[in-house]
Symmetry: C2
Subunit: 221 residues, 2 copies
């Protein structure tokens, strides 16, 4: 399988070309696009469910909800206030979203009606790290129940993200997870990584996440 | 990228050929090999840390510990009693173990000294489902903090597993995770899936897991 590496390079270079098209689209329409990545069940959809009612009145939010199978997340986001601004992408087995899928969805999206676009990736800490979707930034979620060693074990994802949201802080103390260790491990990979602690269950810390999003939009994108 | 699908087929067919070699090796030496798969942080290493002292006196256990980066899991398993019978595999970015990696490790393994071989895969609910490692069975772990919809969202993994271990039962009640729903969802994908509930933290249910392993070994492999 000597052609495997060159083919991977070819796929990634084709992806980069399409990601640039997506990035230009976002830029031309002054849309901030964020690529949300995490393990399965870390709380990407829950975070977005909480974000929509908090910010949806003054920020025009769109959501692309990627899943290997089912449109469950999209359905949850529509109910949470996303309405017609939610676009599901079922990858049908593929372990990540790619820029081609995003460009296909963008045909149905009027970017002039959006300020902020969340792209919720497939739950997977490995493969989505390799595929640029044209986003301004990757936001990686990690939950306190996953263990504080995960940044060391899945370094590419933490290296390529601008913000780490540590979710499920209400469950701190139920394991030996240490906030200090997870932040130390993540910043040993990526010293510039910003960190916000949240509990989507209790709501603690969501104000900081919302302020961060407002700041990002206000900074002129 | 029209050649992508044929190449994937070629890679998988080459993997199947090597997996058959591994399977024959296990069979010739009467070794039961189990392929442990899950999301990152579901508790694969913790389960093995508990299993080694419980069964290690009368069953000869070997462990192949796969990780994208770091040998942390292997180090934990060596300390837990695995000793020289632990072989780390660092995939260096790859999102799954494949049969070639297993065959490479097996050169260093005297299978006559083993009854049971655990292969701890990379934490990833998608990609490892496609790669046969020559195992007798895949065992999928899911933790109660990940949400009970995961079997529907990552169906291939649950379809191709023989046993689902639902771990972190000590955290039941901290979210809306329902044991009934997760089992229902999993069996809607795979009606024959066996289920064992465990908490590696409290030890509850580990006796059932150990009995299941003893039964598997006693059944003549």
């Amino acid at each position: 399988m000597s052609e495997r590496i060159p083919l991977e390079k070819k796929i990634l270079s084709e992806n980069d070309r399409l990601a640039k098209e997506a990035r230009d689209e976002f830029s031309n329409h002054s849309v901030v696009a964020l690529n949300l990545v995490s393990s399965p069940g870390a709380g990407k959809t829950s975070l977005l469910e909480r974000t929509l009612p908090a910010l949806g009145n003054d920020i025009r939010i769109g959501l692309i909800a990627g899943d290997v199978q089912t449109e469950n997340d999209a359905t949850r986001l529509i109910k949470a206030g996303g309405g017609e601004m939610v676009w599901p992408v079922v990858t049908g087995g593929a372990c990540h979203l790619d820029a081609r899928m995003i460009m296909r969805v963008l045909k149905d999206v009027d970017l002039d009606r959006l300020d902020l676009l969340f792209i919720e990736n497939v739950g997977n800490l490995v493969c989505p790290s390799s595929f640029d979707l044209g986003e301004l930034m990757k936001v990686v979620l990690i939950s306190t129940t996953e263990g504080d060693d995960k940044p060391l074990k899945y370094p590419a994802m933490f290296r390529r993200s601008g913000l780490m949201v540590v979710n499920k802080t209400d469950l701190l103390g139920t394991s030996d997870f240490s906030m200090q260790r997870v932040v130390g491990n993540a910043r040993s990979i990526n010293p510039d990584l910003e960190v916000i602690e949240t509990s989507c269950r209790t709501g603690v810390g969501l104000d900081k996440w919302e302020d961060w999003l407002r700041g990002l939009l206000a900074s002129g994108q």
